[in-house]
Symmetry: C2
Subunit: 229 residues, 2 copies
């Protein structure tokens, strides 16, 4: 398939976009990655996702698909050759979807608080909430992985992607709050999982460095401050 | 399969529970329906959905599955004989999932406002927001149904179930706000769709009457008032 047939509209700092990049890598799908300007959204983005006007958008042929986890399922169902992203058994799929939804509702809600949090105390609160939000996932990892490396078995799957998308931002919060979130004394299995995840060939080249995200965050808050003055 | 193998924990007023009841009916799955007491949650519910402690929960064998749309997918993937609930093509599935997520995020958020809304003006605002929330779904219906009766074709599918779960509560808001939401001049296709949906054998016996929901809502607000006094 020519790269032009599959286009991903994305932005480097988005954990949602990262999910899709990882899924495309897992399936070795030749594609064009288009970095959007989030301050001035392209006509293509507005036309492709008129309802939410958000990234990521995958455009396959002429058809846009929106919402990161929906795109990941679409990729798995469209490029059906191995490796599979979703587990094969309906019950395992339901469990993976449950925890992916948990990640979206609980952890991303905490991440959203970064937009307004200023100062070390506010960052500390976010780090604490994020840490607590990981506890149930530590248990879920033990049950889902069944002794294997990833939630999905010996290779990265749906729930790994859903949760892994957030890892770079976890690091940012850890640095800014000066507090461990992926703490070996609290979530030892997730610490090991996160190390393996980051080293995976599908993840390595696309996960943003924490320093780059901190720089982006500083610019974002500085712009916001300038707009207020 | 014996009914005891499939158990649904539910509550009559829940649009989320209704989704699962319709899916079980579509697939003609013999099951036990257990009406929960939402004021005093059962041990079985707390054990089966420890994270959210919410309904519905489907228990298949000994295994609980939570979250209405995840359960609907599980049912479709486990009982694979016709009729199918999800569309067969990955793109159509992605689109159905997109609008189902839209329903959850946009329309259910409006429905949540009922908990605190008191008086005709507040109800009017809810009715107006709900009405506006339906406009994009009117367009989506035209595109998805391709001239057929339901979003999913000639029989009720995933998006029909996702949106249809809310219909009884739309009626409640219409009555309390004294304002049409399913208005033929604004969403003519959805008006026709809703009529067909309500008449479907899988829906008829399980969709609650608006009067019963209004009675429930009055009791809920009266209890709340009593608790404040």
């Amino acid at each position: 398939m020519a790269a032009g047939d599959v286009k991903l509209l994305g932005y480097f700092s988005s954990p949602f976009v990262l999910r899709v990049r990882i899924a495309l890598n897992i399936k070795s799908i030749n594609h064009e990655y288009v970095e959007e300007n989030v301050m001035s959204k392209s006509e293509l983005l507005l036309k492709s996702n008129p309802i939410h006007q958000k990234l990521p958008v995958l455009i396959h042929g002429e058809r846009p698909i929106c919402e990161s986890l929906i795109i990941v399922e679409y990729i798995d169902e469209t490029w059906t050759s191995a490796p599979s992203i979703l587990p094969s058994h309906p019950y395992d799929r339901a469990i993976a979807r449950f925890w992916a939804a948990y990640t979206d509702v609980k952890l991303f809600a905490v991440l959203q608080e970064l937009r307004t949090a200023r100062g070390e105390e506010a960052m500390g609160n976010i780090a604490k909430k994020m840490s607590e939000g990981l506890f149930p996932l530590e248990d879920a990892y033990v049950k889902c992985s069944k002794g294997k490396t990833f939630f999905g078995g010996e290779s990265i799957g749906y729930l790994d992607i859903a949760l892994g998308g957030i890892l770079a931002w976890l690091k940012v919060i850890e640095i800014m709050a000066n507090m461990k979130i992926l703490d070996e004394t609290k979530v030892p299995n997730l610490v090991k999982w996160a190390d393996k995840f980051r080293q995976d060939p599908s993840v390595k080249g696309v996960i943003p460095a924490a320093e780059k995200l901190i720089e982006f965050f500083s610019m974002f808050t500085a712009n916001e401050q300038a707009a207020k003055n």
